[in-house]
């Protein structure tokens, strides 16, 4: 029996999806740049990124997803070898 009540509209339910708040990369003022010469692939930046806007490349390097990165700078702050620099857009 089909119900006329939409259960996910009478109680607050949200399904996760990529970029549900839009391309938050446009909020950014400072842009993180990873220097692969210095990077030791420890992936602390990937772990700390609050937006999950860092992915891991096939060679195990972290890569910033600039479409969603808000430029908070946490990755640069956490990097133990200072391989990430924040550059004004």
């Amino acid at each position: 029996m089909e119900s006329k009540i939409k259960f996910d509209l009478i109680t607050p339910i949200s399904y996760p999806g990529e970029g549900s708040a839009g391309a938050t990369g446009s909020w950014r003022v400072f842009k993180p740049i990873i220097d692969r010469e210095k990077c030791r692939k420890c992936l602390l930046c990937w772990l700390y990124c609050p937006e999950a806007a860092i992915r891991v490349s096939e060679e195990n390097y972290p890569e910033i997803i600039y479409e969603y990165c808000k430029g908070c700078g946490i990755c640069a702050n956490e990097c133990p070898v200072k391989a990430i620099s924040m550059v004004e857009e």
Partner: protein, 404 residues
């Protein structure tokens, strides 16, 4: 099958008959027997359910919420401090629209420490989106818990329900109870229909995420709308139950000798039994009295009460609760309903902390109330049975709120 059961055991038998699948509760006097009996049923394999042990009432309700979200039929029970400790989770259960049924064995709040009944614990949670039933005796506890599932799981309702009964006078008093088997009840209560938001590991979701002012209000509106629909569902559930099993309770209100009554006594819970008797005594003395027993507090039976009470000479609302600084909670609500009518409402606060309210007391309350109406001296509300000497000893004077 007729058994001699306490109100608490009747509740456990009802949960068993309703084929409850998950029980999670934390023991507290005077609720303990309910969950003791249920754990016994589950341990013996008489009930196909999981008992989730928890370290507090807050966690008990959290476990109930999880189980109900996963699609299970869920039961719990608590009292007083346990209920208040649980209160944050009660809001979550209501907002999540989960048809959980909970027994609330009403008990006075501390301090001073008390284990006896009044309704302050339950009524302090009247505004949170739970349906609230209140029972008079063990048989009604059994019947109402089953009816509560029918209402709570109704698609147009989908709200959790509390079923209240008084500490000791109902919870521990054993009386003959006609118990239905799970098979008999299944004719009335089908298995819970799994809902689309049943937890699905393949399609995870967040429940209760942030909601901005441009949308929050609609969620509360929808709860209010469903609560108003619950009234019809409650009446229908009671009717259908009566047709199948031979016992019904008048839906939201039970009335006794009201047809020609000029005076209405309004009560809730166990003291209604003595109130019936008091009505008889007053009738024999020539007073035209009837009894209106509130069976449901939320949704509030506004139109039904108004229709019944608006033309009475005296409406005597006996509240076994006190909203400190305002009066009896039911009396306050009923006065608001009747403000444009000719009815005189006398609100009497009685039976707090388990103080006995016998039929002699109720006869006395009605006569004294009538006297005040005739003298035109009706106060906002009154306390019944206060030891004035003690008050004077404590604070040096006695003035108000007035006490009968």
């Amino acid at each position: 099958m007729r058994l001699v059961l306490t109100g608490n055991y009747a509740a456990a038998y009802a949960a068993k008959a309703a084929k409850v699948e998950v029980v999670s509760a934390y023991p507290i006097t005077p609720q303990t027997q309910v969950v003791e009996k249920l754990s016994e049923f589950i341990e013996r394999g008489e009930m196909n359910a999981r008992y989730i042990r928890v370290e507090s009432e807050h966690s008990a309700m959290a476990a109930c919420i999880g189980a109900a979200m996963a699609g299970a039929r869920v039961f719990t029970a608590t009292s007083a401090h346990g209920l208040i400790y649980m209160s944050e989770m009660l809001w979550w259960a209501a907002g999540a629209r989960l048809p959980i049924v909970m027994g609330v064995i009403t008990r006075a709040m501390a301090p001073p420490w008390s284990i006896w009944s009044d309704h302050c614990d339950l009524l302090s949670l009247r505004d949170i989106g739970w349906i609230i039933y209140f029972c008079e005796n063990a048989q009604e506890v059994f019947d109402t818990i089953i009816q509560a599932y029918k209402v709570a799981e109704n698609e147009e309702v989908l709200l959790p329900a509390m079923v209240g009964w008084d500490a000791f006078q109902t919870s521990h008093t054993a009386e003959p109870v006609d118990v239905l088997s799970p098979d008999e009840v299944s004719k009335y209560l089908p298995p819970r229909r799994p809902l689309p938001y049943v937890i699905d590991f393949e399609r995870p979701f967040t429940h209760g995420s942030l909601c901005y002012p441009d949308r929050y209000m609609e969620f509360r509106y929808l709860m209010d709308l469903s609560m108003s629909k619950a009234k019809k569902a409650i009446v229908e559930a009671d009717e259908e139950y009566g047709d199948l099993f031979g016992r019904k309770y008048g839906g939201v209100l039970e009335k006794y000798l009201c047809e020609d009554a000029e005076i209405a006594v309004v009560t809730m819970g166990v003291l209604s039994g003595d109130a019936r008797y008091a009505v008889d005594i007053l009738r024999k003395e020539g007073y035209k009295v009837g009894l209106v027993r509130l069976r449901v507090v939320r949704p509030f039976p506004s139109s039904e009460l108004k229709k019944e009470l608006k033309s009475k000479k005296l409406v005597c609302v006996i509240d076994r609760n006190i909203s400190i600084g305002r009066g009896g909670i039911l009396g306050t609500e009923i006065k608001a309903l009747l403000k444009n009518s000719s009815a005189n409402v006398v609100n009497v606060v009685a039976g707090i902390g388990g103080r006995d309210v016998s039929y002699e007391d109720i006869v006395n309350i009605v006569k004294r109330s009538l006297d005040l109406v005739e003298k035109g001296e009706v106060p906002e509300y009154m306390w019944y049975g206060i030891d004035k000497e003690y008050v004077v000893k404590a604070v040096g004077e006695y003035y108000e709120p007035p006490a009968l």
